[in-house]
Amino acid sequence: MNTWRVVRPGIVVVLLLGLLGVPLWLVFITSAKSRGDALSPSLSLPRDGWHLAANYTEVFTEGRVWKAFFGSLSIVLPSTVLLLLLGAMAAWVLARRSGIVIAVLYAIGISGIVLPPAVITLVLLLRQLTIDGTLSGMVLVYTGIYMSTAIFFITGFIRTIPAELEEAARVDGAGPVRIFFTIILPLLRPVLATATILICLYIWNDVFYAFFVIGGRKDTLPLNLFQVASAGLYLNNWHLIFAYVVLMSLPLLVVFAVAQRRIISGITGGAVK
């Protein structure tokens, strides 16, 4: 057992270096190379000088990073707010009432966890509603796709909260809207935090649904990375691809670095119930 105690940290360090160190180093060092030097990406240091500033400036000007950043932000923020608010309202009713109607509604409510969205006909529907290619259309699509996830997580959490608190408020004459916003919503803070993280991860990084709904008409970070990487002009321009990868990963990495303890405990606390 004692040898294991000595060997284990060694294994952890080797895994960290091999599984994470190599890919992350490759991204960073390639984004610092000249075009010729980056043609076949390797782990070695730049041969003809560091081009960090030049590469990142080029991505900023050619890759429309700012536009894409605000595009991503203006989709993620409203989608998340809508999902949490509407999801929590529905989950409150689904968790507290009972009966066959509620059971059926709950099954419909969480059906999106298992079933994949019908992405082609979604585009047709948006066209019929004349909101195809718009940011609001994209927000509503994400809200529809991830509503089941929100309802599932929040309903499960509300069931573990005793109902006495809200009953006391009701006896005191508080209406449902007031009870929901002053008692229920604050109690939901832990599960809302977990749901926020998962939803933000999915939406911020999504390229598949964004391609069908707003591809070519609005910019988001993943959509632009996709363009940067597939466009003929950029073909095999690994230095620019990886500079873009670093730039688009930074916002989430910063948020994660600041809040990692809460994020990790939120996910571990919420998942296995």
């Binding site: 057992m1 294994i11 952890v12 360090v13 895994l15 960290l16 599984l19 994470l20 190599v22 490759l26 076949s40 990406p41 782990l43 809508l82 509407l86 999801g87 309202m89 529905a90 009713v93 507290r96 419909i108 409510g109 298992v114 079933l115 994949p116 992405v119 082609i120 006909t121 047709l124 529907l125 509503l140 809200t143 529809g144 796709i145 509503m147 089941s148 009953e167 009701r170 006896v171 004459g173 449902p176 990084n205 390229v207 598949f208 970070l221 993943p222 990375l225 996709f226 990487a229 690994w238 691809i241 990886f242 990868v245 990963s249 989430l252 990495l253 994660f256 571990t268 998942a271 296995v272």
Partner: protein, 290 residues
């Protein structure tokens, strides 16, 4: 007192969530059932019903069945590796040392990164002149130039990349599961003379059942619906050997063959439903046996 005999949650609280869910999730799914039986495409102005023609076409040229098989194999491989990696990491990083806490945070970084970016990183790593071959060559003592993303095992490697991206999340869930196992249970096993492996096989792994359910189900569903990693590493190649259903849908949609893409989308929905419900049911039953 009369007030508290009625539930306080008004029905209309359900309305906004269900309105969005019905319009932007369920209606497209219903449309899917209708348009899969039409000739809808970008080449025609009218949409006409064609019966089972799309299904016959897809079955006839073999792509549907091949892609279907590829998708199912891919999902099974991802579910296997993601859980294996996640569990090994969780067992390795279980005790709360400073190094382990640091490692847990680091292994979560791939989860945060975009799957598209992960795909490009591994495309660069696995090129014939890429970093993996350089490392292997250094160990072997001679040059290695294997084209990892163009051999007959490419589907396996892409599944490994997918599992690599998500293993941090599986690890966290397993860590949470390990934490819920009481100290007294482990103590009892130790007093009974069980070794580390026996304790794991007979006590700890069975008690991890809820975490297994969650991880296997999410890995299966997530990888059935995967797109970014495969698109960024292989684009479906070589020779369509890694073409999963969403790559096909993306490709067919780009060609303007909307009805065919819709048919494929309907098939994906059916396959996921057929695979998911029994899997979840079996795993849930496993939990209750204990």
């Amino acid at each position: 007192m009369r007030a508290s005999s009625r539930p306080a949650q008004p029905w209309w609280f359900l309305a906004p969530a269900f309105a969005v869910l019905i319009v932007f999730f369920l209606v497209p799914t219903l449309y899917n059932l209708i348009y899969a039986f039409t000739d809808w495409s970008s080449f025609k102005t009218a949409i006409n019903p064609v019966g089972l023609q799309n299904f016959r076409d897809l079955l006839g040229n073999g792509i549907l069945l091949k892609d279907l098989r590829t998708t199912v194999i891919y999902a099974a491989l991802v579910a296997l590796f993601q859980n294996l990696f996640g569990l090994v990491l969780a067992l390795l990083l279980e005790s709360d040392t400073r190094l382990n806490r640091f490692a847990r945070v680091m292994f979560f970084i791939p989860v945060i990164m975009s799957a598209l970016a992960v795909g490009y990183i591994f495309q660069a790593l696995l090129k014939p002149t890429g970093a993996l071959n350089a490392i292997l060559g250094w160990f072997a003592g001679h040059e290695v130039q294997h084209a990892w993303l163009a051999d007959s095992w490419t589907l396996l490697y892409v599944a490994l990349i997918h599992a690599w991206k998500w293993m941090g999340l599986a690890m966290l869930i397993y860590l949470a599961g390990l934490k819920t196992i009481g100290v007294d249970v482990l103590e009892a096993a130790r007093i009974d003379g069980a070794g580390a492996w026996q304790t794991f096989r007979q006590v700890r792994f069975p008690l991890l059942a809820p975490a297994v359910t969650f991880n296997v189900a999410t890995a299966l569903l997530g990888s059935m619906n995967s797109f970014d990693i495969v698109q960024a590493t292989t684009g479906g190649g070589p020779a369509q050997s890694t073409e999963i259903l969403n790559i096909f849908i993306y490709r067919t949609f780009g060609q303007g063959l909307f009805a065919q893409a819709t048919t494929m989308s309907l098939v994906l929905l059916l396959v996921i439903a057929v695979m998911a419900f029994p899997t979840i049911w079996v795993l849930r039953r496993r939990e209750q046996v204990l």
